[in-house]
């Protein structure tokens, strides 16, 4: 079943075009990667789905319901979680407060405590640092907190903006093992990733974005073998 469907998405920042024509589908339980260089429109696409920026054209449908035009606080309560570019943590508050803020959209508040335990089980490092201020953590820990915070709303679709950016290789490995496990538990994931190799290894399918348009799509293994992708994105050939 198609969970998320984007058709001819268009996003403007004033006179600038952030996304010109993006169409993609994410099926329930699938991992889909958005590939492309800086400025290709990956972040803009994720932010438009999350409701952080309004779409100026096209449509975004989630679980059969149009969500474009809805503000971010209304989108997240439909169980779409985003770990945004730059993490956007509340650096003046504790790790636990950040996580509990992530549970705000839950209709049933009693579910917050078990979800918190679950996030601590997924990222034991966060449990160790639960009373520490988010602003005093390392890059890897911040990335974990951003993902953990998005998980606190118990999303059906988890969107991740560059989960490997700026992290040490060992941390990247931990992060992707964790995502693999969440995927195994049935979580649907849409991620933007600059590391094509990493993304294609993890994802079921991928879309290639170029100057705000989806220019190519396919299964991860097909794209990994495609000489065009190799040339444009891996700088080979």
């Amino acid at each position: 079943m198609t969970l998320l469907s984007i058709r001819n998405l268009e996003v403007h920042y004033g006179d600038l075009i952030g996304v010109a024509d993006v169409s993609l589908d994410v099926a329930e339980g699938e991992v889909v990667a958005l590939l492309g260089s800086n400025g290709a429109g990956k972040t803009t696409t994720l932010n438009a789905v999350a409701g952080l920026i309004p779409a100026s054209g096209g449509s975004i449908t989630f679980a059969g319901e149009r969500i474009d035009g809805k503000p971010a606080y209304a989108v997240v309560s439909r169980r779409i979680g985003l770990s945004p570019e730059g993490w956007r943590l509340f650096v003046g508050q504790s790790v636990e407060n950040n996580l509990m803020l992530g549970a705000t959209p839950l209709a049933d508040r009693s579910r917050a405590a078990p979800l918190l335990e679950r996030v601590y089980a997924i990222f034991p490092r966060l449990a160790e640092r639960r009373l520490q201020l988010a602003g005093t953590m390392s890059g890897g820990e911040r990335q974990m907190l951003a993902v953990g915070r998005a998980l606190m709303s118990d999303p059906r679709l988890l969107m991740l903006d560059e989960p490997s950016l700026g992290l040490a290789p060992a941390t990247v490995e931990i992060m992707y093992e964790t995502l693999e496990r969440l995927h195994g538990e049935g979580l649907t994931i849409l991620l933007a990733e600059q590391s094509v190799e990493l993304a294609l290894e993890f994802a079921d399918r991928a879309y290639v974005l170029q100057v705000g348009r989806t220019v190519m799509s396919g299964t991860a293994s097909d794209l990994a073998d495609d000489p065009e992708v190799q040339k444009v994105y891996l700088g080979m050939g």
Binding site: A50, G51, L52, P71, A72, Y73, V76, S77, L82, P84, R88, L89, F90, V91, G92, Q93, N97, M100, L101, G102, T104, P105, R149, A150, S153
Partner: protein, 287 residues
């Protein structure tokens, strides 16, 4: 230490607690959304008139006027947010300054129209009278006002730092966009902040009215104290407002005792400027 000196110190601290309470609303609004509310002093003024009306119509003291003023001012604060502040926040800083300044003048001159320019006051014995404890003479109204102000200021601080509502409000002030990703509506949180800040101001006003003259322009005098308290304590810091409020009350009181009543404000402002030389962010503000 002479009994008189102790009395001066206690009196200064009690007054300082009230300065802290009505300044904490101002610092909360600043900390939440970088808006300086120039109508803050006039919110206190309105609360003082509410206390007067409660006394004249119902014969009630602070037990009745404090909750009524708190609820009325909270309502005024929320209305001010939705009808004015939310709109001017989209404009440049000068729009915010002139917007809230306009609100200040609106409240002030509406009160001139409604109540006239005469100075009013509540009877001295509305809250007990004057008592002598260990040789110190204390006015019951000031003791009650000071203690309630301390408790409310502490409660405000706990609300901001220990509750999920406080965490959400802080989240909006840190990063309103990220707060939206948490399902939080920034405008609702800001409206609640205005309600809480103005409500606290209402409590302060009803307390001050028990021992201070009431006039349409009293807000001007009080606003200056609030601005100095907030700047000295650190913009956005409730504990800072508490420390600064107590300090200012104490210094005023001591300098009135040692140097003379007319000089107390001069001493406060000299010390204020002196502190800002070394800590421009205020005593407890972030640099």
């Amino acid at each position: 230490m002479s009994a008189t000196l102790v009395q001066v110190i206690v009196g200064g601290l009690l007054l300082g607690a009230i300065y802290a309470l009505f300044s904490s609303g101002l610092t909360l609004i600043w900390g939440m959304m970088n808006v300086v509310n120039f109508a803050h002093g006039d919110f206190v003024m309105v609360a003082m008139y509410i206390a007067y009306v409660v006394y004249v119509l119902l014969g009630g003291g602070p037990l009745a006027s404090v909750p009524i003023a708190a609820v009325s001012l909270a309502t005024i604060g929320i209305l001010a947010y939705f009808l004015l502040v939310r709109h001017v926040m989209r404009g440049p800083m000068i729009a915010q300054i002139l917007g809230t300044f306009g609100l200040a003048l609106l409240l002030r001159y509406s009160m001139f129209g409604a109540a006239g320019a005469n100075f009013l006051s509540l009877p001295d014995n509305l809250v007990g009278g004057t008592y002598e404890i260990f040789g110190i003479r204390l006015q019951a109204s000031r003791v009650v006002a000071g203690i309630v102000a301390l408790l409310v200021t502490a409660g405000l601080h706990l609300l901001l730092t220990r509750t999920s509502l406080g965490s959400k409000m802080l989240a909006v002030s840190e990063d309103a966009t990220a707060a939206q990703l948490m399902g939080i509506r920034p405008d609702y949180m800001q409206a609640i902040a205005w309600g809480i800040a103005a409500g606290a101001t209402g409590i302060a006003g009803a307390l001050i009215a028990t021992f201070f003259y009431i006039s349409p322009t009293v807000g001007e005098t009080l606003a200056i104290i609030a601005f100095v308290t907030v700047a000295l304590g650190g913009f956005g810091s409730v504990p800072g407002a508490l420390v600064a409020g107590l300090l200012i009350g104490l210094i005023e009181s001591l300098s009135a005792y040692w140097i003379g009543g007319v000089w107390k404000d001069v001493v406060v402002y000299i010390l204020f400027i002196f502190v800002l030389w070394f800590r421009p962010q205020g005593l407890m503000g972030k640099s």
